[in-house]
């Protein structure tokens, strides 16, 4: 789960990491009031969960409270990369001597956390890594003894700091790691972490992503999860989340339902291979009941872009007869307006086929053949 910048900053402050002074505004006048209190040039930042906000026009500068109000009005009526802006963070503009980067994330190959820092902050870490890999410092953490003070000092030293500045910076890194551990973070990032002209450090922008599987340990974010969903997801994706279905909206016209993430991904690939475009990813999971199948089918049919639905089931713990019943039940309830291609093999295959054939629905048994057929229908019946 992604946190908004202002939420992440509240946590950073709690852990003793300096952030610019400021406040959250949901109206232009409120933004003006915060700027008046700050009594200095400010930055007005759209609170959205998408990355690359700056380039998309989500960060504006203001010299006066009036300018801050105008900037807030502009942002609060805007959409940044498809996300509606609900609030803006108004902060004192920080003077910059140098922009640094420090991120903590999960490294799959070493099966542990990795701390990544750079003296060239301000742009995306992937860009830094591509443009100047020599400017990146990485420390892989052994989980039996964790991220130690000497690790933090080594990093600060490699970023060319010495004396008390080096120690201050190391302390910030240690606190950042503490956040990562205590919030079950997938990513904790300061970018940029600014060195000000007088030598102090301040985290000007922060990101915090919490591991969804660990949310039961952080009940305070339960409500936020729903808000995030409403911000970022399509109506179908939202409905799927509520029903416990794995659904991703894509931009083609062949609706897809299958059982198992890998099988569904491969199904999308087959559709593309035969010249079609998938409309979605939908995994009904293992052992789906007729009700679950009906729910999934309803969801895919509710997408107006879908011209044909391709159902690809390889029954293991999933039973083909349950899938067949779910399909017929949906048809009985809403009546089909869209053609379907069904591939059904595995557990209780004969019974599933019988149910569908008696209902006048043709069943195929090769995934490739079915993918071809679905693409044909999508391209000819447009």
């Amino acid at each position: 789960m992604k946190l908004f910048e202002y939420e992440a900053k509240t946590i950073f402050s709690k852990y003793g990491i300096p952030t610019p002074s400021g406040g959250l505004a949901t109206s232009p006048s409120q933004a003006g009031e915060i700027a008046t209190q700050i009594d200095a040039p400010v930055v007005v930042k759209a609170q959205v969960l998408v990355a690359g906000r700056g380039k998309a026009g989500g960060i504006l500068f203001a010299q006066s409270p009036l300018e801050a109000e105008i900037a807030a009005r502009k942002l609060l009526s805007a959409e940044i990369k498809g996300s509606r802006v609900q609030s803006v963070l108004v902060e004192e503009r920080v003077l910059v001597r140098k922009e640094l980067y420090c991120g903590i994330t999960i490294d799959r190959s070493s099966r542990g956390y990795v701390v990544i820092a750079s003296s060239e902050g301000g742009m995306e870490i992937e860009e830094i890594a591509a443009a100047m890999p020599e400017k990146i410092v990485k420390v892989f953490i052994d989980s039996s003894y964790g991220f130690r003070p000497y690790h933090a000092i080594q990093i600060a030293k490699k970023l060319d700091y010495a004396g008390s500045q080096m120690l201050n910076l190391a302390n910030i890194f240690l606190n950042q790691f503490k956040i990562a551990m205590e919030y079950d973070a997938e990513l904790v990032e300061m970018n940029p972490l600014i060195e000000m002209p007088e030598g102090k450090f301040v985290a000007a922008d922060t990101r915090l992503i919490i591991d969804d599987s660990a949310l039961y340990r952080h009940p305070e974010f339960k409500k936020r999860l729903t808000e995030e969903a409403e911000h970022e997801l399509s109506p179908q994706e939202l409905e799927a989340r509520k029903s416990g279905l794995a659904y991703v909206k894509l931009d083609g016209d062949v609706g897809v339902i299958g059982n198992g993430a890998g099988l569904v991904m491969a199904t999308l690939d087959m559709i593309q291979l035969y010249g079609g475009k998938p409309a979605n990813f939908l995994d009904v999971g293992g052992g789906a009941s007729a009700d679950m199948m009906a729910l999934a089918l309803n969801l895919v049919l509710s997408d107006p872009g879908v011209r044909v639905v391709f159902i690809n089931i390889l029954g293991g713990i999933t039973r083909c007869d349950e899938i067949a019943k779910g399909i017929l039940e949906t048809r009985r309830r809403i009546g089909f307006l869209k053609p379907m291609v069904i591939r059904l093999v595995g557990t209780n295959e004969e019974e599933g086929r019988r149910i569908l054939t008696e209902g006048g629905i043709h069943v195929l048994d090769s995934m490739e053949e079915a993918a071809k057929r679905a693409v044909e229908i999508a391209t000819t019946e447009g």
């Binding site: 190959s109 099966r111 591991d211 969804d212 299958g258 993430a261 890998g262 293991g316």
Partner: protein, 290 residues
């Protein structure tokens, strides 16, 4: 024959009294797997499908000389169960549980390294050596004893390919689900090493997907050390958009890394055949073994 599990495997089912644990215990017993004990704290002394239940793994291991464990306990307790099994001396741990926090998975893997344990999963369908031992939740009927070693990051896609191999009479020596999570125990590289040493395995099928770099590491391993047996790979997710999780927690393209293209190119460079369609895997392996 095969690797990791065979007819000498004696397994404990952790979480045997739960719905899933009990259901799959019966199916594993039906297959002929030696399930010697189960655990469920507070339910020691009872039985599930004739299997004695204990409060702790330590007791179960002492009484029944178990050497493997399969874990069905809910995510919040899965790390505890895994570490308990490893400290009790079990060397093969299959973690079926999905949605284990990454921080917990990291702890599990650190413990496995210290104790020299082969962890399969989390979020895996398990491991099967057809005809001998099924330690998992996969549908048994798609597998036939044979010569192809399989390792996969996806359940149903494995069954899809296994059906093809069985139909061509190639069958499988052992089939391992590595797990769909970002942090998993056994990887393609470790499994490739084990298959290379197994005399019954004549060829290897690798089923990968987007996310992470396990496939790239496998390609690197094959191209640098050379590999004695034919390998064919299939990668799911050529059409997956970046930044979206495709069903599995681990199936996500982040910051341009973990794309299907990068994995396919890595395998092709290493001289590994990459199947365009799942059904091509069996055909390509049959050609290679001819």
């Amino acid at each position: 024959m095969g690797i990791l599990v065979d007819n000498h495997t004696k397994a404990v089912v952790q979480g045997i009294t739960g719905t899933q644990g009990s259901f799959h215990t019966e199916l594993m017993l039906d297959y002929g797997t030696q399930i010697v004990a189960g655990t469920s704290p507070g339910k020691g002394g009872t039985q599930v499908h004739g299997v004695p239940v204990y409060d702790t793994v330590e007791e179960a291991v002492k009484k029944h000389e178990a050497n493997a464990s399969i874990i069905f306990v809910p995510a919040p307790f899965a790390a505890d169960a895994s570490i308990e099994a490893m400290e009790a001396g079990l060397k093969i741990i299959v973690i079926i549980t999905e949605h284990i926090p990454v921080k917990d998975a990291i702890q599990i893997m650190a413990c496995a390294k210290r104790h020299g344990v082969n962890v399969i999963g989390p979020n895996t369908p398990g491991v099967i050596t057809p005809g001998e031992c099924k330690l998992g939740i996969m549908p048994a009927h798609v597998f036939k004893s044979g010569v192809v070693g399989m390792a996969s990051r996806s359940g149903t896609l494995t069954y899809e390919v296994a059906v093809g191999l069985s139909a061509r009479g190639l069958g499988q020596s052992t089939c391992i689900g590595l797990g769909g999570d970002p942090i998993v125990g056994l990887t393609f590289v470790e499994v490739l090493k084990k298959f290379e040493d197994d005399e019954h395995t004549k060829a290897v099928a690798l089923i990968g997907e987007i996310g992470g770099n396990l496939e790239e590491l496998a390609a690197d391993f094959i191209s640098t050390g050379g590999y004695a047996k034919p390998v064919v790979a299939f990668i799911a997710g050529r059409t997956a958009p970046p930044g979206k999780r495709m069903g599995h927690a681990g199936a996500i393209i982040m910051g341009g890394a973990g794309t299907a293209r990068s994995k396919i190119e890595a395998f092709q460079k290493a001289g590994v055949g990459v199947a365009e369609r799942p059904s091509d895997v069996a055909r390509m392996l049959a050609d290679a073994l001819r």
